[in-house]
Assembly symmetry: C2
Homo-oligomer: 182 residues x 2
């Protein structure tokens, strides 16, 4: 951030009065520009015991496998967002179920919120951001080609819970920041 989005003048990084952290503050109009984590919402859609996964057509991690997930938009719920991403990325009309995982991705300033989901009919495809989508049996999940650690976490917890016959939710944090940045 170099300029104030309100008035267009340069910003400086400093701790505002009464605050504890450096913020981008406008040198002209004084607007404080807070920066906060973004939510990524997604789901693990199941149909007939198999899991719907998508191979990414875009960077980062083009060619690797993921579950439908993406940035939550203003004006929607996390469930809305997970359902929308399934439609966009896998052309799949899913029913969102219980909360599965919350992954704090500290190096990316993101919170990934993953739900269980059900795909009523085996109808799906490759959206613009996907090379292909498949309904994958548990034993064929390409673990070495999963795009993101949060997706690996969500899939593993999903399968563990399914085997145990429970629907828990799981919090975790991932932190790949250099030690000085912590």
């Amino acid at each position: 951030m170099n300029f104030c989005s309100h008035c267009g003048q340069p910003v400086t990084l400093r701790v505002p009065e009464g605050d504890h952290r450096p913020r981008y503050v406008c040198s002209a109009c004084g607007t404080i520009h807070y920066q906060n984590p973004k939510i990524v919402a997604g789901c693990v859609p199941e149909h007939d015991g198999r899991i719907l996964i998508c191979r990414r057509a875009i960077e980062p991690r083009r060619g690797y496998w993921t579950i439908p997930a993406g940035f939550m938009e203003n004006g929607e719920t996390t469930q809305d967002a997970a359902r929308r991403e399934s439609l966009e990325e896998a052309l799949a009309d899913v029913e969102i179920g219980s909360l599965l995982a919350v992954v704090h991705v500290l190096h990316a300033n993101q919170v990934h919120v993953m739900f269980r989901a059900r795909l009523a009919k085996p109808e799906f495809g490759a959206g613009e951001e996907s090379l292909e989508s498949i309904l994958c049996p548990e034993e064929q999940i390409p673990w070495s080609e999963i795009a993101f650690r949060s997706v690996d976490f969500a899939l593993r917890r999903y399968l563990e819970d399914r085997r145990a016959g429970v629907e828990r939710h799981h919090f975790t944090a991932l932190d790949l920041r250099p030690p000085a940045g912590r």
Copy 2:
């Protein structure tokens, strides 16, 4: 948003190529400025059966009662944020427990994430953003003077679950947008 925070030139609101929603796009450098919901993290701290609540010293809703809660910062987890807010607003060192509530506040583009919490010792006070803090028995909670609907929701679910001897989590959405904005 009027100007590009990257280069300082004017932005226009338009649907970028390959996108479905209007975004602020820089007329000069082309940067797309996405706007996403912000997370507010908070908790319901309990000590000896009583609930720690704070009377707000700042707008919005100055003078009304709330639980410790505030905007999540980059580099922390939602639990970190709830604990930090308890320290800042109520000078209370709490231990964060299970997930209590996720409230999608659609008119404010916020997601409120509330946890159960335990205040080991009855030590607390009024932080800079609070007029006072109290440990409040259930029957004395000032329901008509609660600052926010999400706080009302979290407190009611907390007390219901406590009576039932369970620790569930509860999703809901609040939407005070005018119909045209939906």
